[in-house]
Amino acid sequence: MGCSSSLPDGSARRLSGMDQDSAVAPDAKNLRVKLVLLGDSGVGKSCIVLRFVRGQFDPTSKVTVGASFLSQTIALQDSTTVKFEIWDTAGQERYAALAPLYYRGAAVAVVVYDITSVDSFTKAQYWVKELQKHGSPDIVLALVGNKADLQENREVSVQDGLEYAEKNGMFFIETSAKTADNINQLFEEIAKRLPRPLTS
């Protein structure tokens, strides 16, 4: 996209940066992580987040503008808590150039595709490459095939998803925001894979 994001003039004072919060907070028992969701428009990124954060599912599609920010804390079995600060980005093409704004400094990136759309799987691979190039070097990557409840319309096989994920060292899972299948598992698995601060 040809839209630049230059500053109109120098009138604005310096503001505190988005990266100022480190990706993983130092407290070993109470982690705080920045997580970003990426993927084509309409694959269900917002639905996954709203299912995870609020336990809701709204079938009417609401196009995300820019990015929404939500947070949710989960407790793990080893009595640590993980607070996810989630950037739910818009999938529209016009926001693609602005994605670095949101994934910069992220500890976790969840790349989502729709199992009923090959195009969205191709788009997911684009995001994986982009993250490998420009994301944090130790970023945790997850590949998510959403809309798993629509088996009859499946265009991307589990095998394809799994193979691609393994090849790129990603965690792979298929979810359904509609039925809540695997949504909590997704975030719990991510939490387990987070690099822990040494000693405690």
Partner: protein, 668 residues
């Protein structure tokens, strides 16, 4: 605010006023001049309004789709085509180029009026508005060269017919439609009706147009299944198109953009034909239809309308649509066309149909779209001050604009030094936020561009809804200010809750603003500060008894626009204007009045008085303010003038509560 008084006596009017508007001379004195003037005025008003009556009233009637295209062609035969262009000389070429000598080419505002001048005598203020009606019906100039027009129009419709056979003949068929298939055709707001005979069932256009029924309005794309081959599509009253200068469709209000590739190519061909002659196409009149063109670099915007709105208004609407597009993409999208002339822009606007349809809907209920001013939610002075103080606090920490709004009304806003926010930008920003559902689910951080501030660059907007109606927008130039803005929001929200601003806002929403029934009856009560309704509710008994007759002297409604503040205040609708259809009609009438008062060709006017069977409209423009008032059609002129003076006094008395004073960024 000025202490000027609108005079109802001839003696105190200046000569200039008399000349410009004899009908205003005297209420009681009623000279011959005045009668001539007002009679003429009324006649024209009648012509015009009865027309729009026919259009509106039949909205609900059954469809009689008798003779589809045949009918179209027949109609075309009787229609006339007037081409208005901007650059003078080349227009002759255009005329002969298209094959006739009879083209009525309106070159420029001034020249065009020259054409009208033939059948337009003295009464200038009235004529501005009236002439359009005359023009479409019986303008003498149209008789000449009708042969050419017939040919021309027919060839036009032939083009369309070709398209019908192969709608995608240009070979362009995109895959990624931005259409929102969720549109429900049952509860839509069609502006159907192309000619008088054919109506579509369930045209509830008017019923959904009112300010009170905004919630009834179903957002999203209408009739996504239609294209230019659909009869229903061709009968829509008002179309808006965005296309590229290579003829690719970008947006269409009705129907699927991608199926309209052929139609877009036709529009593009018309524009470039005229441009090749070194001229520019502004307006084509074809019978009741106006086709308005706006060229913005590689982007063309076109409106096809038979709503009888003035050219200036429709052009203003195209400007706003363009502004909305810039708000989403910035003007740097032009570079995509420099790189690739055949660039397809629809994917870039994916998911924004709802933003455009909501803007277009607001053209029929939101006076800000033609007043170029914003309006505030009525609040006690101290309440607004409290909100302003905390916003100012935040703005001092590096926020460019801090805006607190309730629906489409401003609670308070603050700008950093030297930064000023244009009312049109506020309108577009509020429309963008209000129409995009995702802002309501959580806090958001999104790039947006303010076209009047800097069309080339993105700003970053932190948006958060504090409750169902009130939302905070913090704009910054810094792309990584999110966490700072989030902290600002938490501070602001805490203060607003502590000082009860949000509950006051909810109460104001319930109470409404200025009710004409509450207009102070005693003009000597100069120091009145509060109407019972503004700020503090009390169900006055007078109001109850007055239900059904509006305010004093038959006052039904008014809009007061402060030039200095860039703000307006609109009264609540009296019971006489309860139906959304009536409200929409009144807005259209105001809009026409506004256009006529600001017509550069015939100079600024001070007053205008119009009477037709729907209402008496009175408009008064001074260097400080503009007043638009609607009265009962039988209202006495002298009384109406006196009432307008009282309205102005009333507005002045309560300005602390209805306007945002002082801290506004406009005063830098």
């Amino acid at each position: 605010m000025s202490a000027e008084e609108l005079s109802s006596s001839a003696s105190s009017s200046s000569d200039e006023t008399l000349e410009r508007d004899p009908s205003f001379k005297s209420a009681e004195g009623g000279g011959v001049d005045e009668r001539l003037g007002s009679v003429r005025l009324e006649d024209e008003g009648d012509v015009e309004e009865s027309r729009s009556d026919r259009v509106e009233d039949r909205g609900g009637e059954a469809v009689v789709e008798s003779n589809g295209h045949g009918g179209d062609e027949g109609e075309c035969g009787e229609e006339s085509l007037v081409v208005e262009t901007e650059v003078g000389d080349a227009s002759g070429d255009l005329g002969s180029g298209v094959g006739g000598d009879g083209a009525v080419v309106e070159r420029d505002a001034g020249e065009g009026d020259g054409d009208d001048g033939g059948d337009v005598p003295v009464l200038k203020t009235a004529e501005v508005v009236g002439s359009e009606v005359v023009g479409e019906g019986s303008r003498p100039g149209l008789e000449v060269g009708s042969e050419w027009r017939r040919n021309r129009t027919r060839s036009n419709s032939e083009i369309e017919m070709d398209d019908e056979q192969s709608p995608s003949s240009s070979g362009y068929a995109g895959e990624r439609g931005s259409s929102n298939g969720a549109a429900s055709s049952a509860s839509d707001i069609n502006e159907i009706v192309e000619d008088d005979e054919i109506r579509e069932v369930g045209d509830v256009d008017g019923a959904n147009g009112g300010i009170d029924s905004q919630s009834d309005w179903v957002p999203g794309k209408r009739h996504a299944d239609e294209d230019d081959a659909s009869i229903s599509w061709r009968k829509r009253k008002k179309h808006f198109f965005i296309l590229s200068n290579s003829g690719k469709p970008i947006y269409s209000r009705h129907g699927d953009e991608h199926k309209l590739a052929g139609f877009s190519a036709t529009l593009q061909a018309i524009v470039s034909f005229v441009e090749n002659g070194g001229d520019r196409l502004n307006l084509v009149r074809a019978g009741k239809h106006q086709v308005i063109f706006l060229v913005k670099g590689p982007i063309y915007l076109v409106c096809i309308s038979c709503t009888e709105e003035p050219y200036e208004s429709l052009k203003g609407q195209l400007e706003l649509i363009y502004g909305q597009m810039i708000l989403i993409l910035t003007k740097s999208v032009n570079r995509c066309f420099e790189r690739n002339a055949k660039f397809d822009m629809t994917p870039l606007l994916g998911g924004t149909d709802i933003v455009f349809s909501s803007l277009i809907h607001s053209f029929s209920w939101n006076p800000a779209t033609f007043l170029h001013a914003y309006t505030c939610l009525p609040l006690a002075y101290a309440t607004r001050q409290a909100a302003g103080a905390i916003l100012q606090d935040v703005a001092d920490s590096g926020v460019l604009f801090a805006i607190l709004m309730c629906r489409h009304k401003v609670i308070s806003l603050v700008g950093a030094q030297k930064a000023s926010l244009h009312p049109d930008d506020m309108l577009l920003l509020a429309n963008f936020v209000m129409s995009s559902e995702s802002f309501r689910t959580s806090e958001s951080f999104s790039p947006i561009c303010l076209p009047r501030y800097n069309p080339m660059a993105f700003l970053y907007a932190y948006v958060n809804f504090l409750d169902a109606d009130s939302y905070l927008m913090l704009l910054t130039t810094s792309s990584d200010a999110f966490y700072h803005l989030k902290d600002c929001r938490i501070r602001i929200e805490t203060v607003l809750l502590k000082s009860n601003v949000l509950s006051e806002v909810q109460r104001s929403l319930l109470d409404g603003g200025m009710h004409v029934e509450d207009l102070p009856t005693d003009p000597s009560l100069k120091n009145r500060t509060l109407s019972p309704r503004v700020g503090h509710d009390s169900q006055g008994t007078f109001r109850e008894s007055a239900a059904g007759i509006g305010g004093p002297s038959g006052l039904w409604h008014f809009i007061y626009r402060s030039i200095y503040l860039d703000q307006y205040v609109s009264s609540e609708f009296s019971s006489c204007l309860r139906s959304p259809r009536q409200q929409k009609r009144l807005y259209r009438a105001y809009q026409k009045l506004f256009a006529s008062m600001h017509d550069k060709g015939i100079g600024p006017h001070k007053t205008q008085f119009r009477r037709d069977e729907n209402y008496v409209l009175l408009c008064w423009v001074t260097p400080d303010f503009e007043l638009y008032a609607a009265f009962d059609p039988l209202a006495d002129k002298g009384q109406a003038i006196k009432t307008c003076n009282r309205v102005c006094q009333w507005v002045k008395d309560v300005e602390n509560e209805i306007f945002l004073l002082g801290a506004s960024p406009f005063s830098w």
